[in-house]
Amino acid sequence: MSEIDSNTMKYKLINMYQQNKAAIEEGLPDVVNRVRENAIRDFDRQGIPEKGSEAYKYTDLMRAFGKTYGYSFKAPKTDVDPETIFQCAVPDLDTYTILLENGWFYNKSGEQLNLPKGIIVRSFRDAATEFPELFEKHYNKYLESHKESIASFNTAFAQDGLFLHIPDGVVLEKPIQIINLLRGGNPLLVNQRNLIVVGKNSQAKVIVCDHTLSQQNFFANTVTEVFIDESAVFDYYSIQNQHNQSSQISSIFVNQMKNSNSLLNTLTLHGGFVRNNIHVKLAGEHAEANVYGLSLVDGKQHVDNFTFVDHAVANCNSNELYKNVLDDEATAAFNGRILVREDAQKTQAFQSNKNICLTQEAKMYTKPQLEIYADDVKCSHGATIGQIDEEALFYLKSRGIGGHEARMMLMHAFAYEVLSHIRVPVLMERYGDLVEKRLRGEFSKCEGCFVHCN
C-alpha cells in the first residue's frame, strides 16, 4: 500500500517546486519558465487523480506516487558510453542513437550522429534557448493543462529531455533511436520533457527504448509533445522495458495537420506500473492516425493504456488496436476514447481492444468510448476478453505439436496482429523476436546490450 495519501504527496511536490523554483528555472528561457506557475496551479487544483475517477478508473496512481523518491535538479554525471549500449533492446538495427539518462540529454550535440542536414537533435534545455520561435509556437501548446494533472506536474518541473526538429521536405530513412536510461543508487523521480516538430512533407521514424539500469524504485513521468505539419509522416515506436519495481507515466500529445500521417506503437514488455496517455488531435483534414499497442504483462505488473483520438475536423481517419496478454496476477486497463466533433464529417474511426487472461488472478478492465457529434461518420469499437481458443489448441495438438508449444504459437499469432502494422521491416522482425522471447519467459532484457542491468 501507499506510504502516504495523495493529498499529502501533492503538497509535498508543490512544496518541492516552490523551494527549488530557482534551481528548476536556471538556464531555461522564459518560454519554458513562464508556464510553470499556471501548471503548478492546475496540478494543485486537480491533484493526483484518485482511483475511480473517470480517467483513472482502474489505476491507482499512488502505486507510483506513494513511494519515496529522490529528485535531482542537476544533470547526472555519466560514465556510460552510449556508443556501446545503443542497440539495447533491438540489436542489429541501423539507427541514429540518442541517449538520455534520468531524463537528461546525454549527447551534447547532434553533429556526431551525422544526421542529414537540417535535422536538429538537441537537449530540450539548449533548444529552448537556441530555437525560441519553435518553442513559442509549439511548447506546451498541445496538452490541455487544466485537464491533465500529471502532465501539468511535468510542465512545472520540466528541465530537460529531447528536442527533435525535422525541417520541411526532409525524408529521414534511418530511424532515430532514443534510449531513456534510469540509473542510480537511490530511488528517483524523473520528469522528462520532449518536443518533436516534424515539418511539412517530411518523414521520420523514432524508436524510444525505456530502460532501467539499476534495481531502484524509479518513477519516470514523461511528457512528449509532437507536432506533425502538413503532409508529413511520423512513426513513433516505444518499447517499454523497465524492471518491475519501476513506475512510468508516459504521456504523448500529438497534433496533426492536413494530410499528415502518424503511427504510434507502444510495446510494453516489463515495468511494474505503466500508464500510457496517448492523445492525438487530428487538426487538419485528411490526416490519419494509427495507434497500436501490445502489452505482455505478468507478476504484479499493472499496465494502463489510455488513448484519446480527437477528430476535430472533417475527412480524417484513425485506426486503433490494443492487445494485452495477462499472466500471473497482472492487471491491465484500456481506455479508448474517440471524439468526433461537430462538422467532422466523413470521419472514419476504428478501434479494437483484445485481451487474453491466462490465469485466475489476472484482471482486465476495458473501457472503449465513442463520442460522436457529426452524422456522416463510420465509427466502431470492439472489445473482447477471453482465453486461448481450445479448438485451435486442439487442432495444433492433434497435429503433434505439444501443448506448451501450441499455446506459444497461438499467443504469438495473437500478438502478431499488432506487430504487423510496424512500418520498419527490420524492426518488425526484431519485435517478433522480443515478443516471442518475452512470451516464453526467457527474455533477457537486453540481449546484445553492453550494460547487463538485470
Binding site: 487472461c357 452524422d375 477471453g386
Partner: protein
C-alpha cells in the same frame, strides 16, 4: 434543400401527438419536500410503522447525497421544494366494471389508443392503470387470483401482503442505492406489485400503464416483481404523458427477484412528453431498475423502447447470482429535437456459467444526445461467464450526438466477453438502392430504421411490438414511413 434535409426538417418540427391534459380532480399536498411531507404521504396511505421508518431513513440518506453528475446529460437544477410529491385522483372507490370508471379517464385512454375495454376483450391483458399515483382500475384480478398470482397496486400490497413487501422491498435496490433511488424510497406514491408463486406460469401478460397527469407533480412509482421457483411471467410497462411546459420529475424504482428456474420478461415502452421542438418542457426520467437472478437457471429479459422524456437516466441492471442464470437486455432508444438520453445496462456476473446478452440500438435525430452506458463485470468466482454486447448508433442529422461508454471488467480468466459498437448514418448507397427500386427516400429511411430496430422489437410481446413500432414512427415522423 435536398429531399433528405426536408425530411429531417419535418422530423424536428414534429410535435408531440399525445399532448393533452385530462381534468380529473386531484388530491394534492403542498409543494416541497421535508420530513413532514414524507410522514404525510405515509399517513395518507395508511402505512405501517416500519414503512414510515423506511421512508424516513431513505429521506435522511437522500439529504446527504448529491445529484450524480457522471452521465452525459445537461440537466437544469431541480428545485425539490417546487414539486408536489403526492397527488392522487379523488375517487378512491374500487370498480368492478368499466362503467364505474371516470368517463374522462376512459376518454384519456381512448385518445392514447389503448382503451381499457378493448384491451380487456381483445388482448386478454390485465391492465393495472396507474393514473398519477393511485391505482384506479385493476382487471382480471379474479383470473389471476385463481392461480395464486398477486397483481395489485403497491399500496394495496402494503395493506394486504405486508409480509411479502417487507421481505422483498429494498432487497434489490436498497434505499441508499443512489440519489434518485433514495428520493423514490422516501416519497414513492404507488406502483405495482406482482407475485408469481412457485411453479406457476402466469396465464397472461401483465401490463401497467403509468401516466403522469397532474401539473407539477413528480411521480415516484415502485414496481416489485417476485417470481418464485419455476415460475414465469411477462410483465409489460408502457407510458405516455400529456403535454406540459414545466419539467416534470419522474424517479422510479423497479425491483425484480427471480428464484431458481424462474423466468421474467420485463418490457417497457416509454413515450413521455419529450419537450417541444425548442427543448422546452418534457419529463425528467431517472429510473433505477434492477433484477436479481437469485436462483440457479433463473432468467431475466429486459426489453425497452425509449422514445420519450426530455432527459432519460436509466440503466436496467441484472445481478446474475445463481449458477447458470442468464440475462438479456434489448433496447431501442430514440431521441429527437433536444432530448437527451443516457441509458444502458449493467450485467454483473457472480454465479458460475452465467450468460448475458446486450443489444442496444440508439437512434438520434435533431439536436439530441443519445448515449449508451453499460457495465459488464465478471467477478472472480464467476467461472465460465459469457457476455456478448452490441451497441449500435444511427445518426439522422448533423447536429445530434451518439455516444457509447461501455465498461468491461473481467476478473476471471475463464470468461469470454465480447463488445462491439458501431456508429454511422444511413448509407447513401442504401437509400439509393431503395430509390432505384421505386421506393421513396422517406419510405426507404423508414424501412431501414425499422430493420435496424427489428432485432429489439422482435423481443417485445405482440401487443407491445405493434405499439412500439407506432411510437418509433411517431418519434421520427417524416423520416420513418
Amino acid at each position: 434543400m435536398s429531399e433528405q434535409d426536408k425530411i429531417l426538417n419535418e422530423v424536428t418540427q414534429n410535435d408531440y401527438k399525445y399532448g393533452f391534459h385530462s381534468d380529473i380532480e386531484q388530491d394534492d399536498i403542498p409543494k416541497g419536500l421535508s420530513e413532514d411531507v414524507v410522514r404525510l404521504i405515509s399517513a395518507k396511505k395508511n402505512e405501517p410503522e416500519w414503512l414510515l421508518e423506511y421512508r424516513l431513513n431513505a429521506y435522511r440518506n437522500w439529504l446527504e447525497m448529491k445529484m450524480p453528475k457522471w452521465a452525459h446529460l445537461k440537466i437544469p437544477e431541480i428545485n425539490y421544494q417546487d414539486i408536489i410529491f403526492y397527488s392522487a385522483p379523488k375517487q378512491q372507490a374500487k370498480y368492478e366494471s368499466l362503467d364505474e370508471v371516470d368517463p374522462e379517464l376512459i376518454e384519456t385512454f381512448n385518445k392514447l389508443g389503448i382503451p381499457l375495454d378493448e384491451q380487456k376483450m381483445l388482448s386478454g391483458v390485465a391492465v393495472d392503470a396507474v393514473m398519477d399515483s393511485i391505482s384506479v382500475k385493476t382487471t382480471f384480478r379474479d383470473v389471476l387470483a385463481e392461480k395464486g398470482v398477486i397483481f395489485c397496486s403497491f399500496s394495496e400490497a402494503v395493506q394486504e401482503h405486508p409480509d411479502l413487501i417487507q421481505k422483498y422491498m429494498g432487497s434489490v435496490v436498497p434505499s441508499n442505492d443512489n440519489y434518485f433511488a433514495a428520493l423514490n424510497s422516501a416519497v414513492f406514491s404507488d406502483g405495482s406489485f406482482c407475485f408469481i408463486p412457485k411453479g406457476v406460469r402466469c396465464p397472461m401478460e401483465l401490463s401497467t400503464y403509468f401516466r403522469i397527469n397532474a401539473a407539477n407533480t413528480g411521480q415516484f412509482e415502485r414496481t416489485l416483481i417476485v417470481a418464485e421457483e419455476g415460475s414465469y411471467v411477462s410483465y409489460l410497462e408502457g407510458c405516455t404523458a400529456p403535454m406540459r411546459d414545466e419539467n416534470q420529475l419522474h424517479a422510479a424504482i423497479v425491483e425484480i427477484v427471480i428464484a431458481a428456474d424462474a423466468e421474467v420478461k420485463y418490457s417497457t415502452v416509454q413515450n413521455w412528453y419529450p419537450g417541444n421542438k425548442n427543448g422546452k418542457g418534457g419529463i425528467f426520467n431517472f429510473v433505477t431498475k434492477r433484477g436479481l437472478c437469485q436462483g440457479k437457471n433463473s432468467k431475466l429479459r429486459w426489453s425497452q423502447v425509449e422514445t420519450g422524456s426530455a432527459v432519460t437516466w436509466k440503466y436496467p441492471s441484472t445481478l446474475l447470482i445463481g449458477d447458470n442464470s442468464s440475462a438479456e437486455f434489448y433496447s431501442v432508444a430514440v431521441t429527437n429535437n433536444h432530448q437527451q438520453a443516457d441509458t444502458g445496462t449493467k450485467m454483473i456476473h457472480i454465479g458460475k456459467n452465467t450468460k448475458s446478452t446486450v443489444v442496444s440500438k440508439g437512434i438520434s435525430a435533431g439536436k439530441s444526445q443519445n448515449s449508451y452506458r453499460g457495465l459488464v463485470k465478471v467477478t472472480k468466482r464467476a467461472e465460465g461467464a459469457r457476455n456478448f454486447s452490441q451497441c449500435d448508433s444511427l445518426l439522422l442529422g448533423d447536429r445530434c450526438g451518439a455516444h457509447t461508454f461501455p465498461y468491461v471488467e473481467c476478473e476471471n480468466n475463464t470468461a469470454i466477453l465480447e463488445h462491439e459498437a458501431t456508429t454511422s448514418k444511413i448509407g447513401e448507397d442504401q437509400i439509393f438502392y431503395c430509390n432505384q427500386r421505386g421506393i421513396s427516400t422517406e419510405d426507404a429511411i423508414g424501412m431501414i430504421v425499422n430493420g435496424y430496430a427489428k432485432e429489439v422489437l422482435n423481443t417485445l410481446p405482440m401487443e407491445f411490438a405493434v405499439e412500439a413500432q407506432k411510437l418509433l414512427q411517431i418519434s421520427l415522423e417524416g423520416s420513418v414511413g
